[in-house]
Subunit: 240 residues, 2 copies
């Protein structure tokens, strides 16, 4: 079993994707929102790249069945039901609903890896279950941090490192880590005693703190609060 | 002063390059060879991308003035004077000569960053002097690890982390590290007690060990054996 991690959010080649399980990670905040909304009963989530796509896709469904969520420049989009703070997605509001989600980094990332055999949404919130699902797949794994506007995002790579550590603890010697995967595991080890630290010092985390969204960092730094692993298939993210 | 590091060896945009000092790093082995050959008296080094370019460029100079060096699949190229082991480049052979060098990763990297304000060749061998030159430049810095056939190379990023640590120790709070630069510094800290370890466990280092080139790892893991900082300008690498 090989594990690699793509340190910059560039679309991998179809040769790399095919046959692999890919884990998309956007700790701040798209995959944390996705995990939270599904854990609180959302029926399904459709990740789209643009605000225009979001409203167009919403119009194809019956009124009242579908809600809009996401951000631009980290702020809620005008006319949308939700921003990109996981705590907004309460069970009361989201249960049984379809969510159309568009964010700067995370929702695009799912489309960047669309040629993979299986695509999971990972975060600190569901790290244990995601690692287990990777182990159960038996496939080679590519971890895909969503990055920060095309740049390296330390918090996503640290989360990838957590998955790698948990997989490595189970597989031991029967695991082939790339240089990037090995380095990510070391990065995680530096922060494992207090994950909120890596969120606070990250470029993206600093932006959120400046906008008064510090509560989101505390929320997204929680580990293993659910065993759900969202899966992206045919354009839709669901729990199977 | 900002410091960033490009974790995958993709050509940066001209907007990123212009105005910056770029440090190209290929610890195994191109920049270690470049530093060593110039330290032992080579007149200048012309990095080229292909074997054909190397022989074509050599023919434009008087016979006897120019030597050919480099590797493909880590082995010496047929008909060339040198492979890519720094120890081959003895003072006796290289003094006063022009070297045309072509390697899989490192020599291409110089051309990838050709739009930068200033381009330095960094390695563990000349780390202290390279960090000082970056400080003296007063410019924003981009560290450019050459990678391993387009992939992340842990040994080059660890060397970048060493430069970042040395610059940070001098600049203190007046330094703006990107997430990637911060992570590279942490990676270096993990290995600073014994740099040869990061070479031995790297994908590229393992390939060299399998080819019986373990001596090259010991050589390239040495720190600060010279204060020379090679500079790439107008297609040629020289000491100014």
């Amino acid at each position: 079993m090989q594990i690699d991690i793509q340190l910059l959010p560039l679309p991998p080649s179809i040769e790399i994707l095919s046959g692999r399980t890919v884990v998309v990670i956007d700790v701040l905040r798209a995959t944390s929102v996705i995990v939270s909304a599904l854990a609180r009963g959302a029926a399904e989530i459709i990740p789209v790249s643009t605000v225009e796509d979001a409203t167009r896709v919403a119009e194809t469904f019956p009124r009242g069945s579908t809600l809009l969520g996401g951000e631009r420049e980290s702020r809620k989009i005008e006319g949308f039901d939700f921003g990109n703070s996981p705590a907004e997605y309460t069970s009361e509001k989201i249960r049984g609903k379809r969510l159309i989600l568009t964010t700067t980094n995370g929702t695009k990332a799912f489309h960047s890896v669309a040629g993979a055999k299986e695509i999971l949404a990972g975060s600190f919130l569901n790290a244990r279950a995601t690692a287990q699902r990777c182990l159960d797949s038996g496939r080679d794994i590519l971890i895909f941090p969503s990055g920060d506007k095309g740049r390296f995002s330390i918090e996503d790579v640290a989360c990838g490192g957590m998955l790698i550590e948990r997989i490595a603890e189970r597989r031991g010697r029967h695991l082939d880590l790339s240089d990037a995967a090995f380095s990510s595991r070391l990065l995680y080890e530096r922060f494992k005693g207090g994950l909120v630290e890596v969120l606070r010092l990250s470029d993206h985390g600093k932006d959120l703190l400046a906008l008064g969204l510090g509560e989101d960092l505390l929320y997204c730094a929680q580990t293993d609060i659910t065993d759900l692993v969202p899966i992206f298939t045919h354009g839709v993210i669901r729990i199977f």
